[in-house]
C-alpha cells in the first residue's frame, strides 16, 4: 500500500461534497491502518518461515542429537553415570553441625530425616 497508489485511487473516485472529518472516523482509520501494517509484517515473516521449511531437515536429525548429547556426561542425580564421581556430590548427606541447633543429618541411604 503506497502513497502514490492512494493518490491515484482518490483521483479516480468521483468528486463528492467535502464533510468535516469525525474524530471517531479518524481514530478508526488510524487504528485499522496500523493493524493492517502489523498483519502485512506478519505475512512477510510467515512466508519467510514457509520458505525456510522447504530446506529444513526433518525432526529425526535433532532427535538423534538430543540422545547423543546426554551421553558421556557425569550426572550426580542418575543411578548410573559416567565418572568421575565428584566427592562434593556427597555433601548433602554428610554431617553438618549447625551453630543454631544440634541437628545432625542422617547418613546417605536413609530416607528418613529426623
Amino acid at each position: 500500500m503506497t502513497t502514490n497508489g492512494e493518490e491515484a485511487e482518490a483521483l479516480r473516485r468521483p468528486p463528492s461534497l467535502p464533510r468535516p472529518p469525525r474524530t471517531g472516523d479518524f481514530l478508526g482509520k488510524h487504528r485499522l491502518s496500523a493493524a493492517i501494517s502489523r498483519l502485512n509484517q506478519e505475512i512477510q515473516y510467515l512466508e519467510e518461515e514457509l520458505n525456510e521449511l522447504e530446506k529444513m531437515a526433518p525432526s529425526s536429525a535433532a532427535c538423534m542429537e538430543v540422545c547423543l548429547s546426554t551421553e558421556g556426561k557425569s550426572d550426580a542425580l542418575l543411578p548410573e553415570t559416567p565418572g568421575p564421581e565428584n566427592p562434593a556430590w556427597h555433601r548433602w548427606f554428610q554431617r553438618v553441625r549447625s551453630s543454631h541447633s544440634r541437628k545432625w543429618w542422617t547418613h546417605k541411604g536413609s530416607s528418613d530425616i529426623s
Binding site: 485499522l32 550426580a76 546417605k108 541411604g109
Partner: protein, 379 residues
C-alpha cells in the same frame, strides 16, 4: 483510502495470515518423522531405573510464613534465594539450612527472584511492575533491613520472571505482564532493549517466564499466556527469531536444555515439551494420560533439566514433582508421592550449579533439597 476499503484490506490480510499459519502447521507436521522417545526406543535405549528411595529429601528449609513463589541458586556456592507471599526474600545456606539474610520487601507482592552471578546481589520483581536489586553486603538500615540498591522501572505490567545474564552481574532480563521482555543495565537502571510490545513478532499476551542460553548468552527464550514460546537474540530487539507453537495453554515455564540447542517448556495444558531451537521442531511431548478425562489435568508450574539433560524435573499444581526420562518420555519417579513430599503445589524448582541437588519450592511455605542417596553405579 476509505474506511470500508481499509476494513476489506484488514479482513483480507487476516485471512492470509490464518491461511499461512495453517500451511505452516501442516508443513511442520510433515517434517515430524519421529520424536525423541520413538528414536531412543529404536536405538534400544531403556528408561532410567530409579528405586523409590534413590532421590532423597535431605533438607527442608522452613522459615517463610507464606507460599513460596520463586527460588534461585548461586553458581558455585550452596546458597539459595527464595521469594514468598509473606513479602520476604530469604537467603539460605542450603547445606546448613541456615538463613543468612531475610529481606522485607517494600512491595510485598513478589513473584520472582534471582541471584547475581557473583553471589553478592539478588533481584526480585512482582506486582509493583519493577525489579528491585539488593546488595547483600550493604549495611542494614535502622530497622535491620537491607536497603534497595537499585530499582529497575519501566515495565507497564507485573514482573513475572527475572534472570541475570550468565557471567554478567550488570545485565538482567525480565519478563512481564505488559507482553514484553526487557534487557536491563543494572548499574544505570536503564533499559538496554525491549523485546516485543509494539513490534508484530512479540508476544500477544502476558510473558510469564524467561530462560537465557548458557551456551550462548545472546539468546534467550520466553514463555507466554499466548500459548507460545519465542526465541530472541538480545542484540536484535525488533523481532523474535522464532515462535514455537504447540501448547494449548499458558506457557508457565521455559528452560534451556544443557546442550544449548533445545529448550523445554511447561504449560497450563498439563504437558511439557522439548523444542529444537534452530528448526522450531516440537521434538517431544511429556504428558501423562489421565484415566478420567473429565478432570482438569494439573498444570505444570516449573521445570528444570538435570546437568546431563537425561532427567526433566517438572513441578505441578497438585504437588506432584515428576522426574521424566527426557529420552524415553516416561515418568521414572514422582517426588510428590514420597513420605517427605511437599504438602502443596510445587511453584518453583532449580538445580544446584554442580547438578548434585534439586531444590523445590511450594505453596506449603517450605523449600526442599533433594539429592541422590541410593547406590550409584559409576561407569
Amino acid at each position: 483510502m476509505s474506511f470500508p476499503e481499509l476494513k476489506e484490506r484488514h479482513v483480507a490480510a487476516t485471512a492470509k495470515v490464518n491461511s499461512l499459519r495453517e500451511q505452516l502447521k501442516q508443513r511442520r507436521h510433515q517434517l515430524l518423522d519421529t520424536d525423541v522417545a520413538k528414536y531412543a526406543k529404536s536405538q534400544g535405549r531403556t528408561a532410567v531405573n530409579f528405586s523409590s528411595t534413590d532421590l532423597v529429601c535431605s533438607r527442608t528449609l522452613q522459615g517463610h510464613t507464606g507460599k513460596v513463589y520463586s527460588l534461585d541458586w548461586t553458581p558455585e556456592k550452596n546458597r539459595i534465594v527464595s521469594a514468598s507471599q509473606d513479602g520476604r526474600l530469604i537467603i539460605w545456606n542450603a547445606l546448613t539450612s541456615q538463613k543468612t539474610h531475610a529481606i522485607k520487601l517494600p512491595c510485598a507482592w513478589v513473584m520472582t527472584c534471582a541471584f547475581a552471578p557473583n553471589g553478592n546481589s539478588v533481584a526480585c520483581g512482582g506486582l509493583d511492575s519493577a525489579c528491585s536489586i539488593f546488595n547483600l553486603n550493604s549495611q542494614v538500615d535502622r530497622d535491620g533491613n537491607i536497603p534497595v540498591s537499585r530499582v529497575l522501572t519501566g515495565h507497564k505490567g507485573y514482573v513475572s520472571s527475572c534472570q541475570y545474564v550468565p557471567g554478567q552481574d550488570t545485565r538482567l532480563i525480565t519478563s512481564s505482564g505488559d507482553q514484553t521482555c526487557v534487557l536491563w543495565d543494572v548499574t544505570t537502571g536503564q533499559r538496554i532493549s525491549i523485546f516485543g510490545g509494539e513490534f508484530p513478532s512479540g508476544h500477544t499476551s502476558d510473558v510469564l517466564s524467561v530462560s537465557i542460553n548458557t551456551s550462548n548468552s545472546n539468546m534467550f527464550v520466553s514463555g507466554s499466556c499466548d500459548a507460545t514460546a519465542r526465541l530472541w537474540d538480545a542484540r536484535i530487539a525488533s523481532r523474535a527469531i522464532r515462535t514455537y507453537h504447540g501448547h494449548q495453554g499458558d506457557v508457565n515455564a521455559v528452560k534451556f536444555f544443557p546442550d544449548g540447542q533445545r529448550f523445554g517448556t511447561g504449560s497450563d495444558d498439563g504437558t511439557c515439551m522439548l523444542f529444537d531451537m534452530r528448526t522450531g521442531h516440537q521434538l517431544q511431548v511429556y504428558s501423562q494420560q489421565l484415566d478420567n478425562s473429565d478432570q482438569d489435568a494439573p498444570i505444570v508450574t516449573s521445570i528444570a533439566f538435570s546437568i546431563s539433560g537425561r532427567l526433566l524435573f517438572a513441578g505441578y499444581s497438585n504437588g506432584d514433582c515428576y522426574v521424566w526420562d527426557t529420552l524415553l518420555a516416561e515418568v521414572v519417579l514422582n517426588l510428590g508421592k514420597l513420605q517427605t513430599s511437599h504438602e502443596g503445589r510445587i511453584s518453583c524448582l532449580g538445580l544446584s550449579d554442580d547438578g548434585s541437588a534439586l531444590c523445590t519450592g511450594s505453596w506449603d511455605k517450605n523449600l526442599k533439597i533433594w539429592a541422590f542417596g541410593g547406590h550409584r553405579k559409576v561407569i
